[in-house]
């Protein structure tokens, strides 16, 4: 039998080889701000465990390299990911001198690259398996549960990022909920304002170019500049409009962050609404009018359902973008995970930066998967129902 290579597998195997044998697996530091020392897999783990991990990685890389059954590829990558997740915790305990509360152990580039390579393999397998949208959400839930269990079990408590968490557990959840509120709240506001605005732009052609251009210009203002620009007007509102200050409107803080995120969200929502409505087949629209639908009936019965997947794509862009952008809100006292990122940068404590960055990335990633699945469900509903 001829041996055949898997195209993506070749790339993954090369990355894995570098990450497992050249790049450091973990970083050890005597305290949280001194430069770290690299540790390879064999240095970071007890010899037997380290050898076992290397063997698992090599075997999985070989499975990825050649054309192998999808189920085998899936199993191999899940085993490696699980082993990496468990053993990085072991490395933390192994590397930390007993009783030393200042020493910090964190995952290093090799670990992150291995995670990336095998996540890529899982994603490739899942794509090729052609999972239904619901199944994809299911996979996401299973992965989230697994990570949650690991966190609760305390197996990662020896890692630096969780030591930072342990010091800030209360503010972590407070900032987290602020972050989500900022991202979702500004999205909701953008949908409430943007949808009708998009419909209006679709109906009134003269309005369209003007509105879209203004939103385009807003989109090009750097976020920090926009926060700055909002300080003056919101400050004015807070001092001159009775009751505004009581509502929490101030020149700095949550209000300008919310307004900025809302403004950034408008363009994708309005633009996708316009594009979606313009994509409704002319003949369907003409037939709808010709059969005696009122404008309202046509909008809700024909145009809106047909444009919905495109509008939802805009909402997906906004949500992922907002989860990322909300990080900047911390700069002007708006709170969110960005608080840890900027504190970490200020203290040159990378672990603290990660404490803010990792949950942000995870949230954005989960939001993207869930909304992609929803978009696919709405777009293919008519096909699935009759399949």
């Amino acid at each position: 039998m001829q041996i055949r290579f898997d195209k993506l597998g070749v790339v993954i195997a090369a990355i894995v080889a570098y990450a497992a044998f050249v790049a450091p697996f973990a970083t050890f530091r005597a305290n949280r701000i001194v430069p770290g020392q690299a540790r390879s897999i064999l240095e970071a783990l007890p010899t037997a465990t380290g050898t076992l991990l290397l063997a698992i990685i090599v075997a999985a890389a070989l499975i990825a390299l050649f054309k192998t059954p999808l189920v085998l590829r899936l199993a191999a990558s899940v085993v490696v990911l699980a082993a990496l997740a468990l053993l990085i915790g072991v490395a933390g305990t192994f590397l930390t001198p007993a009783g030393d509360t200042f020493a910090r152990v964190s995952p290093a580039s090799g670990f992150w690259i291995l995670i990336f390579a095998f996540t890529l393999l899982v994603a490739d397998v899942l794509t090729r398996l052609n999972l239904s949208p619901l199944a994809r959400i299911g996979v996401l839930v299973v992965a989230a549960l697994a990570i949650g269990l690991l966190l609760i079990s305390g197996r990662w408590d020896s890692l630096s990022i969780l030591k930072e968490y342990a010091n800030r557990a209360d503010s972590f959840w407070a900032e987290g909920s602020k972050h989500v509120t900022l991202a979702l709240g500004s999205l909701a506001a953008a949908v409430i304002i943007g949808l009708p605005l998009g419909i209006l732009c679709h109906r009134v052609e003269r309005l369209r170019a003007g509105v879209l251009n203004v939103l385009n210009i807003i989109q090009t203002i750097p976020s920090i500049a926009l926060f700055g620009l909002l300080i003056a007007p919101l400050g004015w509102v807070a001092t001159h409009v009775p009751g505004a200050a009581a509502l929490g409107i101030r020149g700095i803080g949550t209000a300008p962050a919310f307004v900025a995120l809302f403004l950034y969200s408008l363009l994708p929502v309005v633009a996708n609404t316009v594009v979606g409505l313009a994509g409704v087949p002319r003949a369907a629209n003409d037939a709808a009018r010709g059969m005696g639908m009122t404008d309202r009936q046509r909008l809700f019965g024909v145009e809106f359902p047909l444009a919905f997947p495109v509008i939802l794509t805009g909402i997906r862009i906004v949500l992922v973008q907002n989860i990322g952008l909300a990080t900047i809100a911390a700069l002007i006292g708006g709170g969110g995970f960005g608080v840890f990122v900027f504190q970490g940068v200020g203290q040159t404590a990378m672990d603290l930066v990660l404490l803010g960055a990792v949950p942000t990335v995870a949230l954005a990633f989960a939001a993207a998967i869930i909304l992609d699945a929803v978009i696919e469900m709405t777009a293919t509903k008519r096909r699935v129902e009759t399949a």
């Binding site: 037939a287 009018r289 059969m291 005696g292 008519r382 009759t386």
Partner: protein
């Protein structure tokens, strides 16, 4: 009866439809024919007020069509267009039920009507009702489009190039089906086309439009025999004229006494088909049979050629 009186549509300086007056008799098929830009579609769309006229009146059985809100008027008039305009997110059954639902019919009545129309159009309601338009062939989609237009039992059906997107064989079948259904329900049909062949085949009367003006409005035979202008003559097609004239007549009307050899041609076939068969087989005469299979006589090349000559 539909009376169109001095109807005009202007967009800024351009006059698209210019002072058109005509009367369409009930239970007939009126075909509006013209080149693109002749204003034929605009004229059609003013009948159900998808386009509001600049001047003039259109009356249905004496009632001005502007006395109702536009959407209510349109619910009472069937409307079918080229490319069918089916709603891609609704099933075939839901598509057909569009106007009955707008009119608030009860569920049982809607279902009965949808099933009736689908059966009429040879689409099994069980199999095709729950399907989506993109799962149907072009011919099936077109039939659903017409069924949808007829769903609320309108007295008047407007059609804008309804067969434009079909291949010739399916188009023929669709035209025959439409004529059969028109006879069955007694619907008044106003059909827009640029195809003179279709106009002659379908129309009880043909209205020829050119540059917004109604150039001639007459029975097909009259249009073929006495075109009102050079434009109409070009549209009719000088080389096609005799054959189009023959296509208007049935073989049974050209039967002569006597007998002939070979396979008999049905009396319902068009005289053009009979002549084509004679020319192709190189025979001077063909036997003719009735619907019951009994011989009626024969048709001859000579007889048909005389009938193809310009009427006096």
């Amino acid at each position: 009866m539909i009376e169109i009186e001095g109807i005009t549509k202007r967009y800024d300086a351009t006059t698209v439809v210019d002072d058109v007056s005509m009367v369409i008799e009930p239970r007939t098929v009126c075909v509006i024919v013209g080149t693109s830009g002749s204003g034929k579609t605009t004229l059609l769309r003013m009948i159900n007020r998808l386009v509001e006229p600049t001047a003039g009146v259109i009356k249905f059985d004496g009632a001005d069509n502007s006395s109702l809100p536009g959407y209510e008027l349109r619910r009472s008039i069937g409307y079918a267009i080229q490319g069918h305009g089916l709603f891609p997110h609704r099933t075939v059954a839901q598509n057909i039920a569009t106007v009955p639902v707008l009119l608030g019919w009860d569920k049982a009545r809607i279902k009965a009507r949808v099933d009736e129309l689908m059966t009429l159009y040879q689409l099994d309601p069980e199999a095709f009702g729950p399907r989506y338009p993109h799962e149907l062939s072009g011919g099936q989609q077109q039939r659903v489009g017409v069924a949808r237009a007829l769903a609320a039992e309108p007295n008047v059906l407007l059609m804008d190039e309804p067969f434009g997107a079909l291949d010739p064989i399916i188009r023929n079948k669709a035209q025959e089906d439409l004529l059969a259904i028109q006879k069955r329900f007694g619907t008044t049909i106003i059909l827009v086309t640029h195809d003179m062949e279709e106009a002659v085949h379908m129309g009880d009367k043909i209205a020829v439009m050119d540059a917004g003006k109604l150039v001639q409005y007459a029975k097909p035979a009259e249009i073929l025999a006495n075109p009102a202008s050079d434009f109409v003559e070009t549209l009719v097609g000088a080389s096609e004229r005799p054959f189009r004239l023959l296509s208007l007549g049935r073989v049974r009307d050209a039967v002569e006494n006597g007998s002939a050899e070979g396979e008999a041609i049905p009396g319902d076939a068009s005289q053009r088909d009979a002549l084509a068969e004679l020319l192709w087989s190189g025979r001077p005469a063909l036997p003719v049979k009735g619907a019951d299979g009994k011989p009626l006589g024969r048709v001859t090349v000579d007889g048909l050629v005389k009938r193809a000559a310009r009427p006096a």
